[in-house]
C-alpha cells in the first residue's frame, strides 16, 4: 500500500491517527472477538437490575464472584487447550481426583501430612493427569476428544478408589476461610487467586512469544511446526497446565465446601467448555482470549445468579444456559460470515 508522505504536517496527523489506531488495536486484541458476548453480559446485567431489587447490590455481586471461582480457574486452562485446537473433557474428574488426593494426604483420618503437602500433592497429580492426556495426543496421536475422555474416566475412578467412594469432611479453619474471609471488605483469597491467574494468563497469551505460538498451533499446527515452533512440547505443556488449574479449582472447591468428595465436579467440563465458547473462542482453534473467557464465565455466573434471584427452577436454568450457548455461537458465526 502506497502511503503518501510528501507533506510533513500530514505525516504528523497520520502518526497520531496511527497511535490511536494502535491503542484501539491493543484494546480490541485484549477483547478479540468478545464485543458480542460483552454486550450480551451488559444487557443481561441491565435486565436483572431492572427486574430484581437484589441483583445490583455489593453483596450479590460479591456472591457471583465467589460462585464463579471454580469455573473461572478451570476456564483459563480450557482456553489454552481450545486455543491450540484441542479439548479437555477430563477437567471435572481431575478436579475431583485432585481434591481427594489433597484430602487423603492432609486429613488427620488419613495420611495427616498437613495442608501444604496435601495441596502440593493435589497439584502434582492434576498436572500429571494433564501431561498424560497431552502425551496421548502428541505421542500416541489420539484425538484430544478421545484422549481426555479416557482421562475423564480414569481420573474419576482413581478419585473414587482413594476412599472407596466416601467423602472426607473437615479441614482447618484457615483453609476454609480462604474462600470466606473477605479482605479489604470485598476480596476473598480464592477470588483474588482467580483474578491474578486471569491477568497472568492474559499477559502470557498476549505478550509472550510462547503464548502467541499457541495461536499459531491452533491456526495450523503444520504451519507452526514448519515455522520452527515446538508444537509437541507446547501441546504437552498446555494439557499439563490445564490439569494443574483443574486441580487448583478442586482445592478452591474443597475450601468452599469444607469437604472433598469423589463425585464432585461432575459435568463441570461442559460448563467450562461452554464458558470458553460463549467467550468467542473457536473449537477449531486459533481464536479466543482470556478476556473473552472471563466474559463467558461471567455470563454463566450472572445468569445462574439472576435466575436464582428470580426464583426460576434449576431445571429451567439448564434450558436457558443451553439456549445461551447456541445463541452466542450462532451470533458469532453469523457475524463472521457477514464480514
Amino acid at each position: 500500500m502506497a502511503v503518501s508522505n510528501d507533506t510533513s504536517d500530514l505525516k504528523g496527523g497520520e502518526l497520531k491517527a496511527g497511535a490511536q489506531a494502535a491503542t484501539a488495536a491493543r484494546l480490541s486484541a485484549l477483547f478479540a472477538g468478545t464485543m458480542g458476548p460483552l454486550i450480551g453480559l451488559v444487557l443481561l446485567c441491565l435486565a436483572l437490575t431492572l427486574t430484581t431489587d437484589t441483583f445490583l447490590t455489593v453483596r450479590n455481586i460479591l456472591n457471583v464472584l465467589d460462585q464463579i471461582t471454580v469455573l473461572g480457574i478451570m476456564a483459563i486452562g480450557m482456553t489454552l487447550v481450545i486455543l491450540i485446537g484441542g479439548i479437555d473433557l477430563s477437567v471435572g474428574s481431575v478436579l475431583a481426583l485432585a481434591a481427594m488426593v489433597m484430602g487423603f494426604v492432609a486429613h488427620p483420618d488419613y495420611l495427616n501430612l498437613g495442608m501444604p503437602a496435601g495441596i502440593v500433592a493435589a497439584l502434582v497429580v492434576a498436572g500429571l493427569c494433564g501431561l498424560v492426556s497431552g502425551l496421548l495426543v502428541t505421542v500416541t496421536k489420539l484425538p484430544p476428544f478421545i484422549a481426555t475422555l479416557a482421562m475423564m474416566s480414569v481420573a474419576r475412578g482413581l478419585g473414587n478408589m482413594i476412599t472407596d467412594g466416601s467423602q472426607i469432611v473437615g479441614f482447618p479453619d484457615w483453609f476454609t476461610s480462604l474462600s470466606i474471609t473477605r479482605h479489604f471488605g470485598f476480596l476473598s483469597v480464592t477470588v483474588g487467586l482467580m483474578i491474578v491467574l486471569a491477568i497472568i494468563f492474559a499477559i502470557f497469551l498476549n505478550y509472550r512469544a510462547t503464548g502467541r505460538s499457541l495461536y499459531a498451533i491452533g491456526g495450523s499446527a503444520e504451519v507452526a511446526r514448519l515455522s520452527g515452533i515446538p508444537v509437541k512440547s507446547l501441546t504437552n505443556w498446555v494439557y499439563a497446565i490445564c490439569g494443574v488449574l483443574a486441580g487448583l479449582a478442586g482445592i478452591v472447591l474443597a475450601a468452599r465446601l469444607d469437604s472433598v468428595q469423589p463425585s464432585s465436579g461432575l459435568g463441570y467440563e461442559l460448563d467450562t467448555i461452554a464458558a470458553v465458547v460463549i467467550g468467542g473462542a473457536s473449537l477449531s482453534g486459533g481464536v479466543g482470549s482470556i478476556g473473552g473467557t472471563a466474559v463467558g464465565v461471567l455470563i454463566i455466573g450472572v445468569l445462574r445468579n439472576g435466575l436464582n434471584l428470580l426464583g426460576v427452577s434449576p431445571f429451567i436454568q439448564q434450558v436457558v444456559i443451553g439456549v445461551v450457548i447456541a445463541l452466542a455461537v450462532a451470533t458469532d458465526t453469523w457475524r463472521r460470515r457477514s464480514q
Binding site: M1, Y207, S227, G228, P230
Partner: protein
C-alpha cells in the same frame, strides 16, 4: 469486446450463455459474459484467478445465481436453482477439490443419493455391476467395492467422472482437472474426454496449464476481470498470445536476468535417502547466489526431498551440510537455526495461518528476533511486519488477515517470514502454484533477488518452463532417483523430460 459475430449463427442443441452478470456487493465479478458450447466439443475457459471463470461455471452448474443474463441449454431456457437441478438437466461439474466420500466404496460414491433399492434394501449386486460398467466405459479397471480413500487422486477423479456419466450428464465442466495429475494420468483423462466427445458430450474445460489447451480443446474463450476478452475458433494459438490476452498487457520478460553465482558452497547434500525410499541416494550442492531447480514428474520425490532437507520429514541415511557445518535434521526448528528455510508446497495448509494477520504470520517464524526476551509487543510486530511487507512488496497491511490476500501476496508473506533472518539456504516448493500468470513474474523477481543477495536457492516446480527459466542448474529426479544435473546451457525441455521419464 463486441459480441461474438458468429454467436447463435449455427443453431445447435448445445449451450448458449448470453449476457451473464454477477456482482458481490460493489464488486462486479462477471460482466456481460456470452459464449456457446456446441454438442461434442471442448471449450477451454482461460483466465487468471478472479477473472470470472469459476463464477461462470458455478452459474452453469447451478450453485450460483446470476444477477442478469440468460442461458439456453438443449433448446430450452435453463436457469438451474441448485446443483441438483443442473444435474437433472444433464449438466455436471467436476470440481478441483474432489467431492467424494473417502470411506465409502467406489460404487456407493457413484450412486450416492440414489442407491438402487430392492425390497427396501440396497441392491449391492446391481449397484456394483452398473458402476463397474461405467468404469469400464472409461477404461478403468477398479473394483467397484474398493474404498475411495485407497485410490490415487487420478483414479478418484475417474470415479467423479463415472458418477457424472451415470447421471446422464451431457455437459461436463472440469475445473483444473489436471492440477494433481501426472503426465500419463493426464493422457488417460484426455483419451476419455475425446471418447465421450465422440459420443456427443460437451465440455467446458478450465485450466491454468496452457500447453494442455492446444491438445484437448476445440475452441478457447479467454476471460479477464469478469469479461470475455477473446474467443478463438481454434485451440492451437501461441501461448504468448493467450497469456497476453489473460493479463491484458504484453508479457515481455517473464523470467528475470540471473546473476552469476559465487564460489562458496552453502548447501551440500550427500547420499540422502528417505525411510520410505521416496528419494534415494541423492547428492548435490548449491553455491551462494546459485538457484538450483529440481524437476521431475509428480511422485518423483521432489517435495519429499526438499522437506527432508528442511527438517520437516525424517531421513534414513545421508547428510546435509550448510556452509560446511553438518546439520542434525531432527525437526524444522533445527534446520531453521542452521539457516535452512522452506516455503512449502501447499501454501494454505502449510505456509500461512489464513485467519491470522500478516503481522502474526511473519512473527510466527521469528519470535527469536521479534521477541528477544520472549516479550512480544504489538509495536515490534507491526514494525517487523512493515519491514517485511515493504521489502517484498506485499500488497497489504500488518493487521490485515492473510486470507484476504491474493495467492501471490500470500506467497510473498511466507517468503517475507524467512528473508530477514537471513537464511543461508532458501527452498521454495512450487512457488507459483495457483498464482496468477501476471503475479508470477513478481515472485520470479523475488527469487532471483534472494540468490543475488548471496543465498543458495532451491526451487521445485512442476512447471518445466519455470524451472528452466529460473535455474542456474537443474537436478532431475525420477521415481526417487537422481537422474542428472543439467547446466543452464544444456537444460532444455527435451533434455529434462528425457531424464524425468527415464
Amino acid at each position: 469486446m463486441p459480441p461474438d459475430p458468429h454467436y447463435g449463427e449455427s443453431p445447435h442443441n448445445g449451450l448458449f450463455v448470453s449476457g451473464l452478470c454477477k456482482s458481490y456487493g460493489p464488486v462486479q465479478v462477471l460482466a456481460d459474459a456470452s459464449f456457446e458450447v456446441r454438442p461434442g466439443e471442448v471449450v477451454a475457459l482461460l483466465g487468471e484467478n478472479g477473472a470470472g471463470k469459476s463464477t461462470v461455471s458455478n452459474i452453469i452448474a447451478g450453485s450460483t445465481k446470476p444477477d442478469a443474463g440468460t442461458i439456453t441449454w438443449r433448446g430450452k431456457s435453463y436457469s438451474p436453482a441448485s446443483p441438483a437441478a443442473a444435474i437433472d438437466a444433464g449438466v455436471g461439474m467436476i470440481h478441483q477439490e474432489l467431492k467424494l466420500l473417502p470411506d465409502l466404496s467406489v460404487a456407493e460414491n457413484v450412486y450416492v443419493g440414489r442407491l438402487p433399492m430392492r425390497g427396501g434394501r440396497i441392491d449391492r449386486a446391481a449397484m456394483n455391476a452398473q458402476a463397474s460398467a461405467q468404469l469400464k466405459r472409461l477404461g478403468l479397471d477398479v473394483s467397484p467395492e474398493r474404498k475411495v480413500r485407497t485410490l490415487r487422486i487420478a483414479a478418484q477423479q475417474q470415479v467423479e467422472i463415472a458418477k457424472a456419466l451415470t447421471l446422464n450428464a451431457e455437459l461436463l465442466i472440469f475445473d483444473e482437472p489436471t492440477a494433481a495429475l501426472g503426465g500419463e494420468e493426464t493422457e488417460l483423462l484426455f483419451k476419455q474426454i475425446r471418447k465421450l466427445k465422440a459420443e456427443g458430450m460437451s465440455f467446458i474445460y478450465i485450466s491454468h496449464r496452457l500447453d494442455e489447451i492446444a491438445e484437448i480443446a476445440d475452441r478457447v474463450v479467454v476471460m479477464r476481470d469478469g469479461r470475455i476478452v477473446a474467443r478463438h475458433e481454434r485451440a492451437d494459438i501461441p501461448v504468448r498470445t493467450v497469456v497476453e490476452q489473460m493479463v491484458g498487457r504484453s508479457v515481455e520478460r517473464m523470467f528475470p536476468q540471473l546473476s552469476p553465482p559465487g564460489d562458496q558452497t552453502l548447501l551440500a547434500v550427500e547420499n540422502l535417502s528417505s525411510p520410505e525410499k521416496s528419494f534415494n541416494n541423492v547428492s548435490f550442492s548449491v553455491r551462494a547466489g546459485e538457484i538450483l531447480g529440481i524437476a521431475g514428474l509428480i511422485g518423483a520425490g521432489r517435495t519429499e526431498l526438499v522437506r527432508a532437507i528442511a527438517g520437516a520429514d525424517p531421513i534414513s541415511s545421508g547428510s546435509v551440510r550448510v556452509a560446511g557445518k553438518p546439520v542434525h535434521l531432527n525437526g524444522p526448528a533445527a534446520a531453521i537455526k542452521a539457516g535452512v528455510v522452506l516455503v512449502p508446497e501447499d501454501r494454505k495448509a502449510q505456509g500461512v495461518v489464513l485467519d491470522q494477520t500478516i503481522g502474526e504470520n511473519l512473527a510466527f517464524g521469528n519470535f527469536d528476533h521479534v521477541a528477544p526476551k520472549g516479550w512480544v509487543f504489538p509495536k515490534a510486530v507491526q514494525k517487523f511486519a512493515e519491514a517485511g511487507i515493504s521489502r517484498l512488496g506485499v500488497k497489504g497491511k500488518p493487521n490485515q488477515a492473510v486470507s484476504k490476500l491474493s495467492g501471490g501476496n500470500q506467497q510473498k508473506v511466507i517468503i517475507a517470514k524467512w528473508v530477514s533472518r537471513p537464511p543461508k539456504v532458501f527452498i521454495l516448493d512450487e512457488p507459483t502454484r495457483g498464482i496468477d500468470v501476471g503475479a508470477r513474474a513478481a515472485i520470479y523477481d523475488v527469487i532471483a533477488d534472494l540468490a543475488r543477495s548471496g543465498m543458495a536457492v532451491v526451487v521445485v516446480s512442476s512447471d518445466l518452463e519455470e524451472v528452466l527459466g529460473l535455474s542456474h542448474r537443474v537436478l532431475v529426479l525420477s521415481r526417487g532417483r537422481q537422474r542428472g544435473i543439467l547446466d543452464r546451457s544444456e537444460a532444455s525441455n527435451v533434455a529434462v523430460m528425457e531424464l524425468a521419464t527415464s
